[in-house]
Amino acid sequence: MTEPVLEIRGLTKRFRGLVALDHVDFTVPEGTICGLIGPNGAGKSTMFNLVTGFLPPSEGEIRFRGTPVTGWSPQQAGRSGVARAFQIARPFPGLTVRQNVRIGALFGRSGPRDVEAATDTALALLGIEDLADRPAEGLTVGHLRRLEVARALAARPVLLLADEPCAGLNPAETDAMIAALRRIRDGGVTIWLVEHDMRAVMGLCDRILVISAGRAIAEGTPGEVAANPAVIAAYLGSEEQEAHGA
């Protein structure tokens, strides 16, 4: 097995009294698609904020390709090859689809190399080349999500953190997104995915980490996770009891 792209050890984040993440461990092996699931408020977005340097962790360690990177800045993360597609798609509204993706290609991991080619590749891979000259403002949710992923992809990431890429998509669009994520993985990008759409999660992921109220409650293959009683309990709504120590 090659070196893991991302290793998380004892990662903890406290916001004043609230513990958003509590000593979580996880490893994202190279070339895989991993999942991060859990009920709303479980700490999924906090996890991504810590990994991408938007927030400093309170405790614990993050290693990226074997190097300790705990507390790095978003720019350092971006330059090193971590790209992120936000949960609420955040395109640059005043720019066209192509300009958006081109900025990803101009910056990101390797800087301005083959900018136009990287832009075209990312647009084509997400199937939005026909929209290239449209302003990003006013795109449908489905197109916005694809733009979000295309811009992240154009940055030539090693690791793509995709925060609910299928949220708000209809079944056909979800299928297209799943296919695109597979192609991105086949192109050599490791993916860590937050997703509520179980079809997407179960179909795509090699390994899944389940968190609830900030704690890791299960980890394993999709089959193992789906059969885990703690996961079922968390998803069926008994997480409140659990949080209170019942």
Binding site: T52, I103, G108, E137
Partner: protein, 316 residues
Amino acid sequence: MTTRILATLVFLAVLAAAPAFVPPFEVRVLSLFCFWGALSLAWNILGGFAGYWSFGHTVFVGVGAFVPGVIVAKLFDGGGAELMPLLVLVGGLVSAAFAGIIAWPLLRLRGIYFAIAMLGVAQVTGELSAAIEWIGGGVGLSLPDAVPAALAPEAFFHYIFVGLLALTIGAAAWVRGARFGQGLLAIREDEDTARMLAVPTEGYKIAALVLSAFLTGLLGATYGFSLGYITTDSVFRTDFSLNMIVHALLGGIGTIAGPLLGAAVMVVLTQVVLGEMLNLHLFATGALVVAMVLLAPQGFLGLWRRKPRAQREPGP
């Protein structure tokens, strides 16, 4: 692209040739257009491209004009006319250095907070230039007459302002096309996403402010020489700060032609159409700005292009 460059060069050549064909008053109006247009375009590098609106850009006009004024008073005893090009350059450089110093704390502020902080910097710096006796902004400073004998004063300054306009257009066009400019656009559109994409946001914002201040400082220094005698009130002018924003808004913020178009409209309106009615022209300016914000938030260029865009909050 080349046609655009060609058209710009023809435009600048026609402007530069004006003193040979039109009377002095019209030359002055055209010089004013170059001055205002270049100021607005320099403001636009930070305000339009990066989305950081400065409400106090006149501070760089003031610093640019005062630096040669103080140097001339202290070192050349009112002389040094032959050093004008050097003095203008030093005015621009000190302006840029000043921007570099205030950039670090100020550019941590976003949106309206940065705008207001710049307003404060301009007010305080203006007050200091008047209050510190050594500088002498309250009484005023003389700048030497650098006009060569063969040229009329308005023609001499017109050539310089056309040259500075050309420089500013060149700088803005370079920024727009460069990776730097794309990074600034990303900052304007969504700074956090820009950071995530590894845009060096802090460095780019500082560079944009410093470049903008350098160009504004050159313009301020030249303006000072064209006045011949400067006081705090004549160069630290709040209406300069406002005009830079208004021109960019009128023509089309974030573009290169926009600020120039806005400046042209305002120069024609205030100097030609309403030149005889000084009391009316502020009223007309205000009315025009209100009308534009309501009817054409993207400026004249936006009207012309008719991009299918939803209305966005036009500012910080």
